[in-house]
Subunit: 215 residues, 4 copies
């Protein structure tokens, strides 16, 4: 029986509720014959988020780790392919830190690949009616930070576990407060995340499928 | 007891199912103490769609008419404010007609306002978490055509009934087949339409609220 | 010899320079065997802008009137097809007025068509490498206001002169101050406006060309 | 006297002219007291483009290498920060190759940073009125390929030279053929590239400036 750790971020920027977190929480206890999901919350804070994540990884010894964050303005579920070793905050985090062009892990490699089967996740989601695509940038804020921290932790501990990051769109109630922004219903997001977890467990290696970007 | 006529368009451009129509069909029988909804299907065809609509209006004598169509690429529920007297098809309709710069009603006025309380509809939807805005163009294809035809019919018959048009976004399963397009879940759309019908019945006249566009 | 009146708006929203006005000013004295351009400035103010425009029309007795305004966020030169009888300001004008859902001309028709050959203007511009399209909404702020005021004035005076409105994108220096906005170089805009004037003089009636919008 | 090598790609996808290449060619001979630009053309072909680039680097021994490519759909000059070790072609290159998820350099690191002062380039361009931003993905086609190939070459040869990549938008004549795409005038692009070269020569190390992305 595999353990799947799924994380979401706590409320951010003055909000009391983080709707992205609500989506993630709905996965608590999601399970099949071969896996069971554990959900944990991370602070939207540079540094502390990675410490927390390491703690949960030690506690749960997960076989698969999926970190989830929100990417306001994106239209679909975006499976991140690569994490980069930079913190470059456009706005302060929840601890009022705003690092600019510092390293996530001093001396670490420039980047890590996701070890999730990103193309398979996109294929499974789109085939089941969930808009999804591969993304080649997770930004430079806490989302990329935790993604890099996760992949670095797996690399330095020589872990056989796999991990990655998925960005989700705004929820409708968020888009309703700011004209012109795309959104996705909670149910659609949760379904997409379930499909992703199923696929990540099932595909030991990625499929070969068109999904790159010209620029 | 008021009768509310809601229309949707039949499948278009080779599709077997028109997902927008599916949303509209879910309103069949939607009712309250003061109204009851009747749903009818219209062909995506210049001319014939208006004839059909006139037939349904005669049959049902509705107090309120809400025509619904799909606007692929839009992010939210858009309540159309104005219908214009032009047919200008970028692609052929379901009867292979492609009129260019002809009039919907020869000699008719340039435009008609919606007689729905458009600002009230937007306010009610956004307050209940449904992304929505006022739109000042319903395009120049069959959606604007039926909207103009509806308002003209109400005007020339001196009817006290009110009418208007709402554009809905792609559904997720449509967006899943074409990268980068925004979408909205069926449930969100149906909820938005229900709120719109409630508000259209309740508000005899529109509210004063910011909702214009600079350009 | 025909007289072409071209108008631009004065600086708006705290700016000292209105770059759109700069583009318009470069047309001063632009002429051919058959026409000569006169440029005038209009205040970004509901009401007063129309009074000013009427004054210039009396003074110059133009055969052709082209009003130009800026539509920040659009990617191309948009030739407006229809002006609607509504003032609905999202922000205050230069005289701190913010009308909501009032009429431009009380009791006036819902809308007026541009009497410029809009498809011909778009065809000529795009063939000469200037991104351009027909637009079916000029918004509900001062741009639509002056456009409606212009067309109403021509209509009520029974004038044989023709008129219309073109929206231009941000200039690069404006886009440089706000991430992600499209822009167009002054030279490209001026070239597009010159082509438009040439075409508006040359085409007495519009061409038949695909250029509508589905929604 | 420093030598600056600037490269552009040959016509692609059936076009006879590559407008992006035209922009780059205008930099030929651009010089100051401290540098002189040499322009070279690269084939839009996986593999061969890197061989060609290596040849030019050997021939010219440049102190600075700036590769330029086109990113249709972007609104501004985007200075790429990171090159990743993947070829993932959505369409075939000019030699009909369409690699999917192969490595640019087998066994190479996941990614390389640009060694241009990316924030300084953006600051200098935007201050001089050219829309510009830092980008965290150069895509997965030949643009990212040459960028990775360049940075790898500099790394493995232990070169003190610096290098990087800039994406430019469509030109207006390209956007005029496809509705709704943003563009930038040739003159604006060339000015932006000149400013970038000046800044790249002048700033030995990057500045600290806000310029990250949340996602």
């Amino acid at each position: 029986m595999k353990t799947v750790l799924v994380t979401g971020f706590d409320p951010f920027g003055g909000d009391i509720v983080n709707p992205a977190l609500e989506a993630v929480k709905q996965l608590e206890g999601y399970a099949s014959d071969s896996f069971r999901v554990e959900v944990r919350e991370l602070p939207t804070v540079f540094g502390r988020s990675i410490e927390k994540l390491r703690g949960y990884m030690e506690e749960l010894q997960p076989d698969l780790i999926l970190c989830v964050g929100q990417a306001g303005g994106r239209t679909d579920m975006t499976v991140e392919r690569v994490a980069i070793n930079v913190n470059d905050a456009r706005i302060p985090d929840n601890a009022s830190q705003q690092p600019i062009d510092t390293e996530v892990v001093p001396g670490g490699p420039v980047a890590y690949w996701s070890t999730l089967p990103v193309k398979a996740l996109v294929k499974e989601m789109t085939e089941q009616g969930i808009p999804a695509s591969v993304s080649h940038t997770a930004g430079t804020f806490v989302c990329n930070h935790i993604f890099y921290g996760l992949m670095h932790q797996l690399a330095v501990t020589g872990s056989a576990s796999r991990g990655g990051f998925i960005h989700i769109p705004y929820l409708p109630e968020q888009a309703a407060r700011q004209a012109g922004q795309p959104s996705m219903a909670l149910e659609t997001i949760v379904k997409g995340l379930r499909i992703s977890i199923d696929a990540a467990v099932r595909y030991e290696k990625d499929i070969v499928a068109v999904g790159g970007q010209i620029s």
